[in-house]
């Protein structure tokens, strides 16, 4: 197929063809490249979901999200109390050091998951034994319940929730018996 140059920038080859029809006869036509078409709002931006998540893109993302805290200095930002992984370690490796890192870097993890998976919450199956012995408490849920208990002046429950939070915060959430 013959490639037509973009009628707007005259540089890229056109991939979007806009035909203006008046009384079903051709009134005006425009041939645009993807970038110009996106710029003029003729087509929605392809950037968001069509690009496969390659390692480089992931690194970029991690770079942006940890950038504020790390500011390029090694060791700045949160450090995982369980495995010692710092924000800068995570940024350079793109890998977490342990299960607890998901809590440690929670503030950065959520937007990252949103970008990568378009979701922040698991919808799949649970380990069978976890269902049998009751679901484990997540820090987030415990904190929410603690706040609610304090607001309701239910101090007995608040104290017990506080203790469970403390134990959980001292070790990776997944090693709880």
């Amino acid at each position: 197929m013959e490639q037509q140059a973009c009628t707007n920038c005259q540089k890229q080859s056109a991939s979007v063809h806009v035909l203006d029809l008046v009384n079903s006869s051709l009134h005006k036509q425009q041939h645009l490249c993807q970038a110009c078409a996106e710029g003029q709002g003729v087509v929605p931006s392809k950037q968001h979901k069509t690009t496969p998540m390659s390692a480089e893109i992931l690194e970029d993302l991690i770079g942006t999200m940890t950038g504020d805290k790390a500011r390029g200095r090694r060791g700045a930002g949160p450090v995982c109390p369980a495995c010692g992984t710092s924000a800068a370690d995570f940024k350079s490796r793109g890998r977490f050091g342990c299960a607890r890192c998901y809590e440690t870097f929670r503030a950065s993890v959520l937007p990252l998951l949103e970008r990568v998976h378009d979701a922040t919450r698991h919808q799949g199956r649970f380990p069978a034994q976890q269902i049998e012995r009751g679901l484990p408490d997540s820090l987030e849920d415990l904190r929410r319940r603690l706040e609610a208990a304090i607001q309701n002046e239910n101090y007995e429950e608040a104290a017990s929730l506080r203790d469970r939070l403390r134990t959980l915060e001292q070790s990776p959430p997944t090693t709880q018996p």
């Binding site: 793109g94 977490f96 299960a99 993890v109 990568v116 799949g124 997944t174």
Partner: protein
């Protein structure tokens, strides 16, 4: 080695991924499910100490070799294998490039049919894979789930109610599930529609990769279609997403193949297929890329019933044995690239001559 004395043993094992049978096996080479899991109480790979890595390895081995385990697996200690042997396992898709190359204590447990492989101390502690020849997303997933359940009964996996199964890289978190179907799409490539086809699939958040996964080129017109998203969708959703996309690609490929064999296109297509067969039967120097491309064209020819004296099994044997590590294992020595190109030509000629 003289040129005619290479004989493929009659009981030569191709492995499940190249068995060449099952639903839509003319287009769908193999269906694969991979599940990524980490064990509670151990650091993930970047922080795991070698002694902990060994301890973990033994714990997983004990689970895998228990008599009640649903799969019969043989554990292979990868630190005991040389580079060529590890390359052979990689070319058979039983281990990843990362596992082949790393220097951690690591292993793979494989069954005899090569339809199950459990990698230990990969990027995640456990990466269990199930293969099924042809297009079989539901069966393959069901078997992987059984395998996962059996493992979970023995070793506790890192899991959070909120994020699901916790993986070293957040791109795998949630289900930890990667379902992929390897498709052979020469029609779409020849008709210049492959970019359009892969873009369609990517638009629904699926990934399209080459023969050996991430970052590899689409050699021999092989494309792996897999889910990209692992969080926020259930296993069932993921199976359905991949199934729908693969069905669409397959019917597109079938339409294009028909068009390539009609009217003015027919002569060009026949010429391309027969030239490829000519090269495979006659060439004395064959690069890996040329071999894969010619094998692709001939595979198309065989399925379109244009070529009738070549068996798909022989094409699969030639495909597997012409990979660098297999080639070097056949000859029991390391070979330079130019030596490999000569040996590859000899090998392919003799495989295609054995009728």
């Amino acid at each position: 080695m003289s040129e005619s004395n290479f004989v493929v043993p009659e009981n030569f094992q191709l492995g499940e991924w190249l068995r060449g049978q099952g639903r839509d096996a003319d287009l769908a080479i193999c269906t694969r499910v991979r599940v990524a899991r980490n064990i509670q109480g151990y650091g993930f790979q970047p922080t795991l100490k070698p002694e902990d890595a060994s301890e973990l390895l033994h714990a997983v081995h004990r689970a895998l070799t228990r008599s009640s385990f649903p799969e019969q697996l043989r554990v292979v200690d990868l630190t005991q294998l040389d580079e060529i042997e590890r390359g052979v396992l990689m070319e058979r898709h039983l281990i990843s490039r990362d596992l082949a190359a790393s220097d951690r204590p690591r292993s793979v447990a494989v069954n005899e049919q090569e339809s199950v492989s459990v990698m230990v101390n990969e990027e995640d502690h456990v990466r269990a894979q199930v293969f099924h020849s042809g297009f079989a997303v539901n069966e393959t997933y069901a078997r992987a789930e059984r395998l996962d359940d059996a493992l979970m009964a023995e070793v506790p996996f890192a899991f959070s109610e909120e994020f699901g199964f916790l993986t070293s890289c957040p791109t795998n978190v949630g289900t930890g599930l990667r379902l992929s179907v390897m498709l052979h799409l020469p029609g779409l490539v020849w008709a210049d529609e492959i970019d359009k086809a892969t873009a369609t699939v990517q638009k629904i958040s699926l990934a399209v990769r080459g023969l050996y996964g991430e970052g590899s080129r689409a050699l021999g017109d092989f494309y792996q279609v897999s889910n990209q998203v692992t969080l926020g969708r259930s296993e069932r959703d993921i199976v359905r997403d991949v199934e729908t996309a693969v069905e669409r690609l397959m019917s597109w490929e079938r339409e294009v193949r028909e068009a390539l064999l009609r009217g003015d296109s027919r002569a060009r297509t026949l010429d391309r297929i027969h030239r490829a067969l000519g090269v495979l039967e006659r060439a004395h120097i064959l690069s890996s890329e040329e071999a894969l491309n010619c094998l692709s064209a001939v595979r198309f020819g065989v399925h379109a019933e244009i070529i009738d004296n070549v068996q798909v099994r022989d094409l699969n044997i030639a495909l597997l044995l012409s990979q660098p590590a297999h080639l070097q294992r056949v000859h029991r020595m390391p070979l330079s690239a130019s030596q490999r190109d000569e040996r590859r030509a000899t090998l392919v000629r003799s495989v295609l001559r054995q009728k």
